[in-house]
Each structure stands twice: as C-alpha cells, then as structure tokens.
Amino acid sequence: MAGLKRLADLRPGEGGVIQDLCLDDVPPKLLEMGCLPGMRVVINYRAPLGDPICLDVDGWQLAVRRDLAERIWVQSEQE
C-alpha cells in the first residue's frame, strides 16, 4: 500500500513524491536546490551510522541530515 511516510523512514532504493512542506520546518535552500513538492526523490544510501542520508533528486545526489529527512513527508510508492 502506498501511503504518506517520512522520508527518513524509507529504506535505500525506495522513493516517493514530496508532499507539501511545512516552511517552519524546512529551510528555503532545500527548495531552491530543487526539492519541491511534487518532486520524486529516492533514497540512494545512508552514511555508516545511518545519518546523513543521500537522496537522488532529479539525477543528482543530495545529502541531508536525518532530522531534516524526518520533517519531509513523501507519498511512498512501495507496493
């Protein structure tokens, strides 16, 4: 079942479409770098201690810390 999930809870290889972001939680720079609502992101891999997380955004790689990934909600595509 697809559903709303926190980006931080996805496993490597899983992806989803970013839902509306709450501005108080998310820095504008993230959006300026192309992580906008409606954009599909995939978890590429995690750092050895599980944090930060490397995302695939539109064909390039962006690393974010876990606390930020916990505040990004995605529509998970997992079956």
């Binding site: 501005l23 820095p27 504008p28 720079k29 993230l30 959006l31 300026e32 770098m33 192309g34 906008l36 609502p37 590429n44 891999y45 750092a47 050895p48 201690l49 599980g50 944090d51 930060p52 490397c54 695939d56 539109d58 064909g59 390039w60 790689q61 962006l62 690393a63 974010v64 810390r65 930020l68």
Partner: protein, 676 residues
C-alpha cells in the same frame, strides 16, 4: 565594441561543482590574482582574459551558489555583486555556468540573473556526461526560450567552445535581455513599488530580492514590516520559477531512457559502505599523512640547509655590525621558518585539492558528519582538521565552508589543538632527549610517544569542542545540505592553481607575521637595559641573561617553576609565539653560547645540569611536561591573528588563547608533579 575606457568586466556565476573554476582557469590562464572582498575574508578570484585582439576583459569568479538569496558569507558576495554592485565592481556581462545534466537546477540561478536584467551568456558544461546519460538539449532553442541569450556548450577539460564564448561576450552587451521568468508584481503588489524606490533597484526583481533578503542576524527584513514573511516569499518565488523552468525545458530536453544514470551512486555504495568505505577512508588518510611527513622531509631539510648557509654567508660577507647581525640571525631564520613549512603545506593542499576535485572529499564529509556531530562539529569540520596537521592558519580559513555559524566557530576554536607541523621539531628534540630507545614488541617507544602526542591533540580537540559547545548558543540553524558531486578525474591545471594560490597566500599571510616576530625576538635577545659597552663586555651567556628577553625569562620563572622549567626554557616558550619550532633554534642559541664545539641542540641540552640536584636538567618529568605544554598551549601569534580576522573580533581569539594556555599549564603542572 565597447568604447568605455576601462576593460570589460565579466562575472562568472554558477552552482558549486559545475566546472566553473575550469572555465575560469581556461579563460584567464595564469593571469589570476586572489584578493579579499573588503571587510570580509572571502577570497575574490579575478583574472584577465584576452577576448580578441585589443579586447582584454577582467573576469571575476564569484563563489558558487544555488540561489541569489544568500545562505552565508560566500553567497552574500554573489548577492552584493549582482543585486547591489558598487560602481567600481559592477560587471558588464555575466557568464552563467550550468551543468548540462541538471539544467533545471542550474537555470534556477541563471534566470534569477536574467531577471535582474544583466546581459548574459550561458555556458553549458558536462555535455560529455550528458551524452553518457543519453540526455540531449537543443541549445539554440534554449537560447531563444531564455530571451535571446547565447547558449554555448563548453568542455572545461579541452577548452572546446571557449572561443565561441569569448565572441559571445563581446556581443552580449548589445543584446538586452527582456525575458522575465518570475513576476514579483503578483506576489508583492502591495509593497513592490515602495521597495523599488527604497532599494533604488533598476528592476522589479532587484527590489524583490532586496525586500525578501533576511538581512544579518537579528535585524528584521524590511518586508516583515509590510506584513510579508521573507521565507514564505522566497518559497513562492522558488515554486513559481521552477514551474516556469519545467515548462520551458520540457519541449527542449530529450532523455534516452535506456541509459544508466547511477554510476556515481553505485561507486558510492562501496565507498560509503560502513566497512569498505571506512577502510578506504583510513587508507586515504594514511597516504596523506605519509606524504605530508615523509615526502616533505627532503625539501624541508634542503630549505633549512640553504638558509643556514645563507645566514652564515651573510654574516661573513656583510660588514660586521648590528645590521648584519639582524640579517643573519633575525631576518634569514625568520624567512626560513616560513619557507620550511612550504613543502608540507603545498603537499597537503595538493592532496586536499585532489580529494575535492575528484569528489571524494564530499563523501568524507558525508561519512564523518554523524561521528563529529556529538562534539558540536560538522562533517565539514574534517577539511580544517586535516589541514591543521600542517598548519592551523590555512585550516582556520578553510572553516569558511561550514554554513552553520556555531559549528564553524567551534571548528575554529579547537583546530589549533591538532598537531601542526611546527610542533614536530619540538617533539623530535624532546623525545630523543628524554624517552629511552627501547622497544615494546614491534613498537619503538619513541614512535609510540610521538603517535600518542598526535592522538592526544586530536582527542583534545574533540573534547574541547564538546565542552565549549555548551557555552555557545545554538543561534540560527543553517541546514546541512551537501551535494555529492559526480566522481571526476581531477584536472592538473586546477590542482596546480589551487596549490600555487594556497602556498602563495600562506607565505604572504603567515609569513609577514612570523618574519616580524622573528625580528622583534632578535632585537629583544640582543639588546637590554645595559649600555652597549656594558653588554659587549659580557660573555655571550651572560649577555643573553642581561638582554630584554633574558630579563623577561627571569621575570616569568616563578610562574613556570612548578612546571619544571627555568628561565632559559621560559625564553624558549616566549620566543615560540613567533612559531613553535623557534623553540629548537632558541634552545640551540641559549645552550650553544659559551661552548665552542658544534654539537647538536640535543647534545647541548643533554649536558645541562640542574644546579639543585646535580642531575641532568632535562629528565623525563621536564620533557613530558614540556611536550604537553607544546601540545596544548596556543603559542602562535599568527593563529591568534587569523582567528581574530575570521571571527571578526578580539573576544574569541583572547578566550581561545587564555583557555588553551591555562589548560596546557594545568596538564603540564600535573605531569611534572606526578613524574618528578
């Protein structure tokens, strides 16, 4: 052609990791200079490019940024240069650099530039990578869609396409760009007209940027007084601009779906793997240290020998007198003290540049971020901490890359605990003096002590950061957003430019201070309150004792006696403020005077007898106490000066110097009292 009297001025604007510096290096060759932007410490790279016969242009390489809304000091430079330029820095043409594999994100910044009304040329890099990925774009149509901008694919490695860029620059001024990709009128109708007149902007978008820019900490943006939220407005712009770009690019881009886009990600699954990635990191660090310590040894010794020879030659060749003395024993050793470190610093920066250019450094930052965070540091503290093994000065300057002000400050404050190469000669002499040459299994006791000193420096840096972070308010939290660029083969030209530039700035910045202090110390050691005649009547050892520095040494002796030191060591401690390795030279001077033989410093020091005990003065307790003092005390005025410059005030460098030196005193005191 431009008929203005001054040369055309061109600004390069682009995201980080776009090949912007390759284009800059290609355009300017070695005609580059690095200066500081007034009032701040961000490097300003500029150079001269020959566009055509009789057409020279000044090219300014602006720091890489993702947006004109600044997120830090570096990016603020871009904002100032394009939104708010003083007449003296106003560019005539902007060259936007965009990575062809990520056009949308790169055009985000470029269309901001166009919205400000700048005549511009767009350079698209990485089209070889685009081909690999099966991506293609109609550049001519893209230029039309961008309102008539010339779009030119350039290969930063071969320089193909660069001639076309030069021609396009000369034409660009005649092509006024009128396309607008974001309409601030819709979102800011209530206040935009007022913002235009208040900000004296030439364009509506300039006024929008001015109004929504959250000026420095604490000060509220103007737009808030009008009921707007700068962040909200910034996001409105982002959404609208990306949507415009999406529609603009959709008909022009073609992607072959059969191609593999994930080569870097696959490499990364190995290189950032908990086991393989960690091992790879250790190997890389090992090679780096091996190079910095062993490859640099030969050139360092050669420089040392050359300058000793030069000093001796000057003493013999110039007419004897105070001036010759100053040259031979003040200036020449001072210059040598600076140049000695050049091989290490050049090698270290070569390796750091290699790691950065190849893209691996971003992975090191990525892997270590979580490890360093509990100490209040960031993954981005790695570069300064590695650099500090050569010298704290370039290391502290490298902390500029850390966006979070708190993490940056902590990095600056604890970096001097790392074992810089100036401590190495001190350790070498003292270890040879007090540590017996015994082996524990395969490990040599002396090597173990040296290793322990390095480990202690690093662990103390971490511990100090964890402690100090409690006293520094969290403040604004700048987000940790790190692009992991594609792996690329580094370009020799870029590596060379970086190494040359860093070395030059080290010699210029640290050199000034070290040479000045060496001269001052020479004066203090050769003159005293006595008259010149009285001084000359004394033998050299007494003369030193009667000099200003000898008097100061005596004056501080009561304070350092609990650590096991006498006034002679006190002189060495004080003179080490020029640079720590001056310790060795000072010791050589102090203990050589009065003896005729040409033994080594170590032999002279070993012969020194403690008058109270009749035993050798440099015993284990004194030696260990001294080594620990050198490990922890901030005895480097050059570092002090750099910290003051980078933190913008006296507060942090003073606290740092007092804190580190007090800690060193305490540890050395305990070590001496326990061992003695």
């Amino acid at each position: 052609m431009s008929t203005s009297k001054r040369a055309l001025r061109i600004a390069l604007v682009g995201n980080p990791n776009t090949g912007k510096s390759s284009v800059f290096n290609r355009l300017t060759g070695l005609n580059q200079k690095v200066s500081n932007y007034p009032g701040i410490t961000v490097d300003k790279r500029s150079g001269l490019a020959k566009l055509a016969d009789h057409a020279l242009a000044e090219v300014i390489d602006l720091p890489g940024t993702y947006s004109l809304h600044p997120n830090g000091q570096d990016e603020r430079v871009v904002y100032e240069a394009l939104v708010n330029p003083s007449e003296a820095d106003r560019p005539d043409v902007v060259i936007g650099i965009a990575d062809g594999t990520n056009l949308k994100r790169h055009l985000y910044l470029f269309t901001q530039v166009l919205d400000l009304g700048w005549p511009a040329v767009l350079v698209v890099t990485m089209h070889d990578e685009m081909r690999l990925r099966g991506q293609s774009v109609d550049f001519e149509e893209l230029g039309k869609a961008l309102g008539g901008v010339e779009v030119i694919p350039v290969n930063g490695r071969t320089g193909v396409g660069l001639e076309r860029v030069k021609e396009a620059i000369l034409r660009a001024q005649q092509l006024p760009v009128s396309a607008r990709f974001f309409q601030p009128q819709k979102k800011g109708a209530a206040w935009l007209d007022e913002a235009v007149s208040l900000s004296k902007s030439r364009t509506a978008y300039g006024a929008w940027l001015w109004a929504t820019e959250p000026t420095d900490l604490g000060e509220k943006a103007w737009v808030e007084s009008k009921g707007g939220s700068p962040d909200r407005l910034r996001v409105d712009e982002t959404v609208q601009r990306y949507s415009a770009l999406h529609h603009l690019l959709k008909p022009l881009q073609r992607v072959d779906p059969g191609k593999d886009l994930t080569r870097s990600a696959r490499i990364d699954r190995v290189l950032t793997h908990p086991v393989w990635g960690g091992m790879m990191l250790l190997v890389v660090l090992f090679v780096l240290f091996q190079a910095v310590f062993f490859w640099a040894e030969g050139p360092m010794n050669a420089i040392d020998r050359y300058f000793s020879g030069l000093g001796a030659w000057a003493e013999g060749a110039l007419p004897s007198g105070a001036f010759t003395e100053l040259v031979a024993n003040g200036i020449v050793p001072g210059v040598a003290g600076v140049l000695m470190f050049l091989p290490q610093i050049a090698l270290l920066f070569f390796f750091i540049a290699l790691l950065e250019e190849s893209g691996y450094m971003a992975r090191v930052v990525f892997m270590l971020d979580r490890v360093l965070r509990p100490f209040g540091l960031s993954g981005k503290s790695v570069v300064p901490m590695v650099s500090a093994n050569a010298c704290a000065i370039p290391a502290i300057m490298a902390a500029r890359n850390i966006e979070n002000p708190r993490e940056r400050l902590l990095t600056i404050l604890v970096t001097p605990f790392m074992t810089c190469s100036a401590r190495l000669p001190v350790y070498t002499v003292l270890i040879a003096l007090v540590i017996p040459k015994v082996a524990f299994g395969p490990f040599d006791a002396r090597a173990l002590v040296l290793f322990a000193l390095y480990a202690v420096g690093f662990l103390t840096a971490l511990g100090a950061s964890a402690l100090v972070k409690r006293f520094i308010p969290t403040g604004t939290t700048a987000p940790f957003l790190l692009e992991l660029p594609r792996y690329r083969l580094p370009l020799v030209r870029n590596l060379w430019n970086t190494v040359f530039e860093k070395s030059r700035s080290f010699v210029a910045e640290a050199g000034k201070i070290i040479v000045a202090i060496s001269i001052l110390l020479w004066f203090l050691a050769n003159y005293g309150p006595l008259t010149q005649g009285e001084m000359e009547a004394l033998d050299p050892a007494q003369r030193l004792e009667q000099s200003y520095i000898g008097r100061i040494g005596h004056a501080i002796e009561p304070a350092i006696r609990p650590l096991g030191y006498d006034w002679k060591v006190g002189i060495a401690l004080l003179s080490s403020f020029a640079a720590r390795e001056v310790f060795v030279g000072t010791m050589a001077t102090i203990y050589a005077v009065g003896t005729d033989d040409l033994g080594t410093v170590r032999e002279h020091m070993a012969r020194e007898i403690n008058p109270e005990t009749g035993e050798p003065f440099f015993n284990l307790a004194v030696g260990v106490s001294l080594m620990l003092f050198y490990a922890f005390a901030m005895q480097c005025l050059s570092t002090f000066a750099v910290v003051k410059k980078e933190t913008g005030g006296w507060k942090w460098p003073i606290l740092q110097m007092v804190g580190m030196t007090a800690f060193a005193y305490l540890v050395s005191f305990l070590a001496y009292q326990i061992l003695a």
